[in-house]
């Protein structure tokens, strides 16, 4: 893979990998079990620039390219998928839309604390009655004097339990259908901004995914991102980038599972030989190695296109689809190679298996991705 990376990309990988091996890997099983968000490690990650990977330097970010971005997400997710999710969502669908659509003042105000990890971002689109069909949201942001009054129920908000700066998708013009949807920034602590209970999830349990409810929550008009009615466009732009992160997350989980499975297959003996010598196990290892590399290459291609300023929407959808399917199939094989031990929490593959599953669901399900890809191929 190195032939596709610049020296800077490789230095990024080496330093993030070192951090994750020393700081994240040792606590990953525990924070999964306890559903705890490791503030101490997160603060270190903030100081190292992981929360502003691509934000410009003058706004407190690291100013890196998209290839570095996917490398960072892959490495963190390899240690802990819940933290990988945190960093991916924060960088891509929370911070990036402010950079892309914010005014100078909005960027000056919101970006530096986010980029330094002093504040954590969230993206609040999904509602109980609107998942794959984002245009079906019911939350409202009604203009009253110099404020918007927000009402709505946002569910499955990644980082929800800890987020300070939340992008809320709501209808500013309830009669205008999908053209009436806008994005308004709401801050935790504003009266009427209520964080619900944490979801008791199957995987990515270190991430405080929660609901966020808005009851007559008043935010100043200058918190509108872009213009009224631009909500879906902002959402789609954000998700193009977000998918790259989720794809990288899938690759990270798969890589971790692949490494554990290979190690185990060489150690475990049955019928007098290491199980890696049984052909069926070797076939699985071959499939795992190939799928992980293929997924990573798709992710790199989309990242390179983005860095070159070229369209990358279809490629990022393909990367997300393939990497998430890869992470579920590779973690499944890793459990199989471990036999009964793979089904026990004593081995990390059990966690990888649970973590991988959601990559096929969030930021657009695999079915929605196939629709998007088919449309772009057939149009």
């Amino acid at each position: 893979m190195d032939i596709f990376l610049s020296e800077k990309n490789r230095v990024v990988r080496q330093s993030v990998r070192r951090f994750c091996e020393k700081e994240i890997k040792p606590i990953a099983a525990e924070i999964d079990r306890e559903c705890s968000f490791p503030w101490e490690v997160v603060e270190k990650m903030g100081r190292l620039g992981y929360f502003g990977i691509q934000a410009p330097r003058e706004l407190g970010g690291a100013g890196l390219d998209s290839v570095s971005y996917v490398i960072v997400i892959e490495e963190i997710s390899k240690g802990c998928a819940g933290l990988g999710l945190c960093v991916s969502v924060h960088n891509s669908v929370a911070l990036y839309p402010i950079l892309a659509f914010g005014t100078r003042e909005q960027k000056q105000k919101w970006v530096p604390p986010l980029a330094r990890g002093q504040k954590i971002g969230a993206f609040c689109l999904t509602e109980p009655n609107a998942g794959s069909d984002a245009s079906g949201i019911e939350a409202t942001a009604i203009r009253k004097g110099d404020h918007y009054v927000l009402n709505g129920n946002k569910v499955f908000v990644t980082n929800g339990g800890v987020a300070d700066t939340c992008l809320i998708f709501a209808r500013t013009d309830p009669g205008a259908g999908s053209k009436g949807i806008s994005v308004v920034i709401a801050e935790r602590g504003t009266p009427g901004f209520v964080v619900g209970d944490l979801e008791d999830l199957c995987g990515v349990r270190a991430n405080p995914v929660s609901s966020i409810r808005l009851y007559d929550c008043r935010v100043p008009l200058e918190n509108l991102l872009g213009k009224e009615g631009m909500g879906l466009r902002i959402g789609l732009t954000a998700l193009d980038t977000g998918r790259l992160g989720i794809a990288a997350q899938g690759v990270g989980i798969a890589q971790a599972a692949f490494e554990e499975a290979t190690k185990y297959a060489k150690q475990r003996k049955q019928f007098g030989v290491p199980i890696s010598r049984h052909q069926a196990m070797g076939m699985m290892i071959a499939d795992m190695a190939t799928q992980v590399d293929a997924a990573r290459l798709l992710v790199l291609r989309a990242a390179v296109l983005r860095d070159q300023g070229k369209p990358f929407s279809r490629q990022s959808a393909m990367a997300k689809l393939y990497a998430s399917e890869t992470s579920t199939s590779v973690t499944d094989m890793a459990v199989q190679i471990h036999g009964g031990y793979g089904y026990s929490k004593a081995y990390p593959v059990e966690r990888y298996y649970r973590d991988a599953r959601v990559t096929r669901i969030y930021e657009g399900t695999s079915e929605i991705h196939r629709m998007v890809i088919a449309r772009s191929v057939l149009e």
Binding site: E7, Q14, R18, F19, L48, G49, G61, A62, L64, K269
Partner: protein, 263 residues
């Protein structure tokens, strides 16, 4: 002002395979990282710079890929790097390596030189001592604590010896070889990596340093590796059979005495 020697070594997680010649390892598939002992040296140099000011220069001998490790040190906060990259220096032994590093350092103004106490690849532990010898300065090896005097003219260091601590004082300039425990090296930050891109990293050949290429490389080695052998395969555990606890205990004692020869 200090210089820090940095070596690139295979990641300790890498599966090492012995090459068909039986004397070297297969280098194709290896993940290379900065020698962990050198990281302690870089970190210490940076801490001294933060306290006293000055500059940290990273010096290394090796192929192009080593720039990655030098950039990592620059991203941690070092100021500049020098890579001696010369095909005729490939496979040089420790003494030749030290000659090349010393040739770079001798023309710099320096107070302290740090190297790792050894490389985790071949465990020779010779380069630091040889550099000090060539430069004619004191060498303080296997050090876990460094204290530079307030006036910056001497250094007090600690070396663990058999559960005791040996404290040594030396005038500067001096060379220190870093041991585990010296410090906890920082991680390179992402903004640091971006900044490191603009820091000077010079590449030099042996000729640039006025060195005679015939004293380097495989042919000129004073130390020759005769053979590399892989560690023995771990044997499976042994289960002691027996009808009663007494029988099992007796058998265990016999095995420990006669087979394992530990009691």
């Amino acid at each position: 002002m200090s210089a820090s020697g940095v070596k690139q070594v295979p990641d300790t997680e890498t599966q090492i395979r012995i090459a068909p010649d039986g004397q070297s390892i297969v280098k194709d598939d290896i993940k290379w990282v900065m020698n962990p002992y050198d990281e302690f040296g870089v970190e210490e140099a940076l801490r001294i710079k933060e306290k006293f000011g000055g500059e940290v220069t990273i010096v290394s001998l090796g192929p192009k890929r080593v720039t990655e490790s030098i950039r990592t040190a620059l991203a941690m906060g070092a100021d500049k790097g020098v890579l001696i990259n010369d095909p005729s220096a490939e496979d040089s032994d420790a003494l030749a390596t030290a000659r090349a590093l010393a040739a770079v350092i001798k023309d710099m103004e320096y107070d302290l030189i740090f190297t790792g106490q050894r490389g985790v690849d071949d465990d020779m532990g010779l380069v630091g001592a040889s550099v000090a010898e060539i430069l004619g300065i004191p060498q303080l090896s296997v050090i876990t604590k460094v204290e530079v005097s307030e006036d910056g003219t001497s250094v007090k260091v600690e070396r663990p010896v058999e559960g005791q601590t040996l404290t040594i004082e030396s005038p500067l300039p001096a060379l220190i070889t870093a041991q585990k425990g010296l410090n906890e090296p920082r991680y390179a930050s992402l903004p640091g990596i971006m900044k490191a891109k603009k820091k000077p990293l010079e590449e030099k050949t042996l000729a640039d340093l006025g060195l005679d290429a015939s004293q380097f490389g495989k042919e000129a080695r004073k130390l020759k590796v005769l053979e590399l052998t892989p560690p023995p395969q771990r044997q499976a555990g042994k289960i002691i059979d027996g009808e009663t606890p007494e029988e099992k205990a007796a058998e265990l004692a016999r095995v420990l005495h006669e087979e394992a020869k530990v009691i």
